[in-house]
Amino acid sequence: MADRPDPERAANPHSSERAANAHSSERASAREEVVIDERVRAAYRLPSPADEPARARLLARLAADPSKRTGWRWWLAADAFRARPIWVAAAFVAVLAGGAWLGSRVTPRTANDAVAIIQSAADPTTAPVTFVLRAPGATRVSVVGDFNNWDASSTPMEHSGSGDLWVLSLRLPRGVHLYSFVLDGAEWRPDPSAPLAADDSFGGHNSVIVVDGAPGL
């Protein structure tokens, strides 16, 4: 390969001169790179500059054990904890399981409890609702609905004192609810002033209330 004459060089002597110059500049830059490389290596072998205050600060910081911080410093420390992600995940699952267990312990067991909780709650997920029914001749009237597990004994209405009006105010979770009135523990009657729901599959119609979705319902 080296013996073969370059046809381009033979045809143009100026071109061969330029090629030679390019070769020599490449060699020079390669030598330069080697020199720089050696200088960098030598610099890394040198000891660090003897800055005593800086060294002292570094050693003090290394010596400070985060686990030995007490009081408010511990709460503000950015590195108060060091944990493997798997342990963090395990702790999270344990907290969740504990919360679920605790939640199941305090979940209302009866409709009465549920209504009591609804009535005492002042959170924005519930809204006050007043049920009114004119029921001549009735001695007992209650409201049943999905908000009290359809338990006729859990939410009795109050007789207004005069006339045939029965009234009940309570807080209901926002959303769509089905309900009905039960007169004297036996007769189910939808609310005459509210929209009707479809046949409930048990031979009756319930009323619909949309809490905080529709003024006038």
Binding site: P85, A89, F92, V93, L96, A97, A100, S104, T107, R109, V144, D146, N149, W150, D151, A152, G175, V176, L178, W188, P195, L196, A197, A198, D199, D200, S201, F202, G203, G204, H205, N206, V208, V210, G213, A214, P215, G216, L217
Partner: protein
């Protein structure tokens, strides 16, 4: 890494949360229903949960059946009907339907409203909440307005921009008209026509309807 850890936690905890919900539902059902009925209802509830449907209305339906004195088969059948209607309502109303809309849509379907009416209602009020229109639609059908006439009335009003309050007032007027001896279908149509004539929204909608179609203008 954090994203992967977060996703892994979600994947790990989702079945645990579902199992917790199932156990809680089963305890509620066992407290009110016979063991065999509770087991069948719990299975239906679990299927609904797996399908992403609201489950509280199913449990409530079972409790309602028990309170009304329905037998075991009646309770299970009632829950099954409710679950099927919810599934159909979600299918008709489309993805992204809110749980309350599914419940209201299911009630409308159980009342006899055809599923395509729910889809038309969604198109009439794109992006808007459909709970009140569905409640009104269901109410009209339950009061004797034929399902087709009720659908036309509510969809027309919704398309013309009727608010929830306006729909509820229309419902009351239709109810009063029917109680006063009006034919349900005719009364519903009359009330909606009257609203279109009187209300600013209805007038605007009618005027808009009379405007020439710009696409048609450009056509040769």
């Amino acid at each position: 890494m954090r994203l992967v850890l977060g996703l892994a936690l979600v994947v790990l905890l989702a079945p645990a949360a579902r199992a917790g919900d199932a156990a809680s539902d089963r305890a509620r059902l066992d407290a009110r229903l016979a063991s065999d009925v509770a087991r069948q209802v719990a299975a239906l509830v679990e299927d609904a949960r797996a399908a992403g449907l609201p489950t509280d209305p199913l449990i409530a339906r079972a409790f309602e059946g028990a309170s009304r004195g329905a037998d075991a088969a009646g309770i299970v059948n009632g829950v099954r009907r409710q679950s099927g209607a919810q599934l159909a309502a979600r299918g008709a109303l489309g993805t992204g339907t809110q749980p309350d809309e599914i419940v209201a849509g299911a009630s409308a379907l159980l009342a006899g409203v055809p599923p395509d009416s729910l889809a038309r209602l969604r198109l009439a009020r794109p992006g808007g909440n459909l709970v009140i229109p569905l409640v009104v639609l269901c109410d009209l059908v339950a009061r004797g307005v034929p399902a087709d006439a009720a659908s036309v009335a509510v969809v027309t009003a919704a398309r013309a921009g009727a608010s929830d309050g306006a729909l509820l007032r229309m419902r009351e007027r239709i109810h009063t008209g029917i109680e006063n001896g009006g034919a349900p279908a005719g009364t519903a149509g009359d009330v909606v026509r009257q609203w279109l004539l009187e209300s600013p929204a209805g007038k605007t909608s009618k005027q808009k309807g009379r405007e020439p179609d710009p696409q048609r203008k450009k056509a040769p």
